[in-house]
């Protein structure tokens, strides 16, 4: 029972409150926000490291911190319980570690933005929510972090809410609502879990007996819907590219390293459930692979630096879900780790480029920056190599492991999925180095008169260098068996926590041996090198050469540049009908329902008018009424007599 565990979330929370107060005071105090925020995350990182060592050290299965009872109603008992085991420990390290680097980088990046204190408050709140997500022992607590992270990304994306005609605010809202759609699935999944397991505590659910196939599949699919919302997979990935409207460090932290991996973490955390339903695993794998390919193709035709990286993130996330789908949960987490390093590096590099080029984001109007920003150039190159999967880089090892696990998971689908993965790897390498050569190589395509790029200050370049080293060295965490007998350190770390399951293997798949593993490793390195060279050669001196090619394949280019028109499809199929439905509801409510009520009023009024017309002032008409009624009465009497 280690009670220092609650420090990991509470330190950033404290930091956020302090920054909030500093922001409220304004003036000079705002400059203090940066350091305060960094200190908070540093503290949290150290605690995470300490906790991680404690677990690794004497094999303590997991650290648990039991706080106050949060919700206690009838059979539902949800204490505020934090639980750090190998999986959440590793994730905590990444979140707080990369988070720290990004906080440090943000000091320089946001130096002269007058809302910087508010920015750091939000960033700290984000780390708080993310750590809550990772450490939450029961699903509702995880959900608190889950939506908290969504809210923070909403605020951070819309940080510059009055720039570009208010577009960031719209992007933020889009992100929040897309997440909310996913959260609906997560919620219903939790309800089902509670009705079936009677508890929502992850550890308790793990021990509980297995569910029947159908229910398990339904729950897994619902949880996966939540994951697609958060980790931007096929149905709900539209918000991530627009999320680039936020400051670049935000994109680095949220949309590359931490938040988007929350979905993968949740799937791995519930791996014991996913393993129980092969169909759900298949769905996860297929969705992952298809998303990877789709995003990869879109990235080919993007001009905006950050948009390319955003789609590349969606694509890499697709890889992670592919890994989860084929049962290689530890490979997924390994890729989460390495991806966090090099993608954060690429984003921060892009940030430094944009910072230097005074908010210019269009790669077509850059070029030749290697002479102006040497550090950024080298670190960006390293990042690009990792992303492309250049042999021996961390990206290579983690992506290769995923591809290897996919093909070796047996079953007919394995080869198809591997094919998709390999093709995406080729595309990734190609568009990465298309970007690198467009931005850094070739001649300057901007007029040096009014734009003079300069290298970013050391506070920004230091994190780049650190991340570059991590990117290169990251592969050591999971060396494949071919190199070192049991070099896959991360696999051993996570295996006790993650469930083992080869959903496809059961279909008589033939486990491949080491020789094939080496062979496939050669395949992926060839793919990477080919992609890199293609990217370099075709885009060496500017986009003109490829422009011609783009014209010949006009429809393909339009399709890709238009992002497969997914946004437009959603707009037409979902948003407009819903808006029309709501307008109809508005009209219906006022017209019909309200009409009925007012109608009742008018009915009585009308009746009043009818009666009034009888009193028309003529004496003789009154006499007429009298004579008439007496006659009628008389007639009635006569009838009676009869």
């Amino acid at each position: 029972m280690s009670d220092y565990l609650f420090l990991i979330p509470s330190l950033p929370l404290l930091g956020a409150l302090l920054c909030g107060i500093l922001h409220a005071r304004g003036g000079k105090a705002r400059d203090l926000a940066g350091p305060v925020a960094n200190l908070a995350v540093l503290g949290s990182f150290l605690v995470a490291v300490l906790a991680f060592l404690e677990i690794r050290g004497h094999e303590a299965e997991a650290l648990v911190y039991e706080g106050f009872t949060w919700i206690h109603t009838g059979t539902l008992l949800l204490p505020f319980k934090l639980h750090l085991d190998a999986l959440s420990g590793f994730m905590a390290l990444i979140v707080t570690g990369v988070g720290l680097l990004i906080h440090f980088y943000s000091i320089g990046y946001m130096a002269h933005d007058e809302g910087r204190a508010k920015y750091f408050a939000y960033l700290n709140l984000f780390v708080f929510a993310m750590s809550l997500l990772i450490l939450g022992a029961n699903l509702p607590l995880l959900f608190v972090g889950w939506e908290g992270v969504g809210a923070m990304s909403y605020l951070l994306i819309g940080f510059w809410y009055d720039k570009e005609g208010g577009w960031p605010a719209v992007a933020g809202q889009k992100a929040f609502i897309a997440n909310r759609v996913g959260d609906m699935g997560f919620l219903i999944g939790m309800f089902l879990l509670f009705t079936n397991f009677g508890t929502l505590d992850v550890a308790a659910m793990k021990e509980a007996p297995a569910l029947s196939g159908g229910v398990a599949t339904l729950i897994c699919l619902l949880l996966f819907l939540g994951a697609t919302g958060k980790s931007a997979q096929i149905p709900l990935f539209v918000w991530l590219p627009d999320a680039m409207a936020g400051p670049t460090p935000v994109s680095a932290l949220i949309h590359a390293a931490t938040m988007v991996t929350a979905g993968v973490y949740m799937v791995c955390r519930m791996s014991f459930l996913f393993v129980q339903s092969p169909t759900a695993m298949a769905v996860v794998a297929v969705v992952g692979a298809v998303t990877a390919l789709l995003a990869g193709t879109i990235a080919l035709a993007q001009r905006d630096l950050k948009k390319v990286l955003a789609y590349s993130t969606v694509s890499q996330l697709g890889y992670m879900f592919l890994a989860c789908g084929v049962g290689a949960f530890s490979a997924a987490i390994f890729h989460v780790g390495t991806h966090a390093f090099f993608k954060a590096l690429l984003f921060l590099g892009a940030g430094s480029v944009i910072h230097g080029m005074h908010e210019e984001q269009d790669a077509f109007r850059m070029g030749g920056l290697r002479r102006h920003m040497p550090i950024t150039w080298i670190t960006f190159l390293v990042g690009g190599l990792c992303l492309a999967g250049f042999p021996l880089t961390s990206g290579f090892f983690s992506k290769d492991e995923i591809l290897w696990e996919t093909v070796s998971s047996g079953g007919s689908a394995a080869y198809a999925l591997w094919g998709l993965g390999a093709l995406t790897a080729l595309l990734t390498a190609f568009y990465t180095f298309r970007l690198v050569s467009l931005t850094f190589l070739g001649k300057e395509r901007f007029d040096p008169g009014e734009v003079h790029p300069h290298e970013s200050p050391w506070t920004m370049t230091l994190p780049l260098v650190i991340l570059a080293l991590l990117g290169l060295g990251g592969g050591l965490m999971g060396l494949p068996a071919v190199f070192v007998e049991d070099g896959n350190w991360i696999h051993h770390l996570l295996s006790p926590v993650l469930a083992e399951g080869r959903p496809f293997a059961s279909e008589g798949g033939h486990g491949l041996d080491h020789a094939q593993e080496g062979l496939f490793m050669v395949y992926s390195s060839i793919i990477a090198v080919v992609g890199i060279l293609a990217g370099l050669i075709l885009y060496r001196n500017g986009p003109e050469r490829m422009a011609g090619l783009a014209k010949t394949f006009r429809p393909v280019h339009v399709l890709l540049a238009g992002k497969w028109f997914v946004d437009e499809i959603y707009q037409v199929c979902i948003l407009t009908p819903l808006a029309a439905l709501s307008r109809f509801a508005g009209w219906f409510d006022l017209g019909i329902v309200d009409g009925l009520v007012n109608g009742l009023g008018r009915l009585f009024q009308g009746a009043g008018f009818l009666v009034r017309r009888v009193q028309d002032g003529h004496i003789q008409s009154y006499a007429m009424w009298m004579a008439g009624t007496t006659t009628v009465v008389l007639a009635w009497l006569v009838m009676q007599l009869w």
Partner: protein, 506 residues
């Protein structure tokens, strides 16, 4: 042992009101300042008087505390008693009433300029009416206070309201009156129906709610129509979907303080009544009508959300949003399990905090810009950061962001509803999306985006006094969000008894 606390709670505001009516005050502005001061003093005193309830009725308590009862009038064999008391169900709502009333008294002076004396009189009378309803343990006491509560709002909307106030206030009054007349019919029938009390020899007439709740045995058919009579009266008050059209008009035309009290407390009368009367008194009918009413709750949630999305008037949007937020409460109540009931009570409190905050903010912006069209706003966060901060918090609370009060209530309700019937629970969870859609789009169009019009540029931010009024609400958002069990534990025993009463009949 009769405790005098409920008496103080009920009659202190009334005494204050009478005091204000006759207080001879002079002063620069015709003595208004001293009147406001006096009224605010009464408001604070009532709130302080209600605090002992919080400590006296701790977690895990059950049964009626602070009871007070005196003979009122005798009618042949029926001895009607003026009975007051507090139990798990009403303790939180009483505290909510005193808090909201106190905040209204502090915030109203900024926008009620003319005839302050009458306004304060009616406001305090209304507060004592509301407290009376929550405290009442006797049918007649309940019905008297139920009517006493209606009349002040009729005047507050009618006199200090917006352009179409007469139409709105008459509609509101007639609508609720129609419902309460139905209820009166049922009450009269009930009270005239002899009840076999244990140990009291033969069947005797009594008008105490508790006796009826404990010993009422009715055949299914009579239960049905009695249930319907009560249910319709309360569904009008909630307001549930078919009977909701009075709410947007009443809100749009009411002055800010009127809207705050209407949304903060009056709407809870409906749901409180459902739990207090419909469930325990007519268990068989409750079981028959539970699915239908869960459906009504669900429709309220979705229909309210869609309506809110279609509004261009800020105040109307918030009004429809409260219809959408009360839908789940009805849904949770008729899920008939611990989760649903406690979730509904908690959601009542959290809605009672979030919507008043939203209305106060709408009022503040209306005082500055004199328009409620969302289109006229934009980019206020740049000019009024404090306003934007509070608006953001209130929106997140009402959208149900975890960590704030909205989420816990909705989560428990949806889970309870899911256990009652999976499909309704699932669709209700979908309602969460629409809730986010219209609130967030409202906030974006109001606070974020570029500063379009010149007038917005010159707006001054919230004054210290206005912010102080909002602070207690925000603190409670977080407190309920972070540790809801301190609140639900107070209601769990009483609600368990009510649920047990319904279960017996199953």
């Amino acid at each position: 042992m009769d405790s005098s606390l409920p008496l103080i709670l009920t009659f202190l505001p009334l005494a204050g009101a009478l005091g204000i009516l006759v207080a001879p005050v002079r002063g620069r502005d015709g003595g208004a300042a001293s009147l406001w001061g006096f009224a605010q003093l009464i408001g604070v005193a009532t709130f302080l008087a209600s605090l002992p309830l919080w400590f006296g009725y701790g977690p895990g308590e059950e049964g009626v505390k602070f009871a007070f009862s005196a003979d009122w009038f005798r009618f042949q064999t029926l001895q009607v008693r003026f009975a007051l008391g507090v139990d798990g169900l009403s303790v939180l709502l009483i505290l909510l009433t005193t808090l909201v009333s106190m905040l209204v008294l502090f915030s109203a002076s900024s926008h009620i300029k003319d005839r302050a004396r009458e306004f304060l009189f009616w406001l305090l009378v209304m507060e004592s009416g509301m407290l009376g309803v929550f405290l009442a343990l006797d049918f007649f006491t309940f019905y008297v206070f139920w009517e006493v509560m209606l009349i002040p709002l009729y005047f507050i909307i009618g006199i200090w309201g917006g352009p179409r106030r007469r139409y709105a206030t008459i509609k509101f009054f007639l609508y609720t009156m129609a419902g309460s007349v139905l209820m009166l019919l049922a009450i009269v029938w009930l009270v005239s129906h002899p009840l076999t009390l244990p140990g009291a020899g033969g069947p005797a007439l009594t008008s105490s709610i508790l006796d009826h709740t404990a010993h009422l045995r009715l055949p299914a058919s009579t239960q049905t129509w009695l249930f319907l009579a009560f249910a319709v009266a309360f569904l009008i008050k909630v307001p549930a979907v078919p009977f909701h059209t009075w709410l947007p008009d009443a809100h749009v035309e009411a002055p800010t303080s009127g809207s705050v009290i209407l949304a903060g407390v009056l709407l809870k009368m409906g749901t409180y009544g459902l739990i207090r009367f419909c469930l325990p008194l007519f268990p068989l009918a409750t079981l028959d009508f539970a699915p239908i009413l869960m459906g009504i709750g669900l429709v309220g949630l979705l229909y309210g959300a869609f309506l809110a999305w279609a509004q261009s008037d800020l105040k109307k949007l918030v009004a429809y949003s409260s219809i959408s937020h009360l839908g789940p409460i009805v849904l949770g109540t008729f899920a008939l399990n611990a989760l649903g009931l406690e979730g509904s009570v908690l959601q009542m409190i959290s809605h009672g905090l979030a919507t008043p905050a939203l209305f106060l903010l709408v009022g503040m912006i209306y005082e500055r810009r004199h328009t409620r069209e969302i289109g006229d706003f934009g980019g206020l966060a740049r000019v009024m950061p404090r306003f934007a901060f509070f608006l953001m918090l209130a929106t997140f609370a009402s959208v149900g962001l975890p960590g704030l009060s909205g989420f816990v209530g909705e989560f428990m309700i949806f889970l309870g509803a899911f256990q009652a019937s999976p499909w309704i629970g699932a669709v209700a969870a979908a309602g969460v999306i629409f809730g986010a859609v219209y609130m967030l789009s409202m906030m974006r169009r109001v606070a974020f985006g570029p500063l379009r019009s010149e007038e917005n540029r010159r707006l001054k931010d919230l004054s210290l006094r206005e912010s102080l009024v909002l602070v207690p609400l925000v603190v409670l958002f977080v407190w309920i969000g972070v540790s809801p069990s301190t609140f639900t534990s107070r209601t769990s025993k009483t609600l368990a008894q009510i649920q047990a009463k319904v279960e017996q009949a199953r």
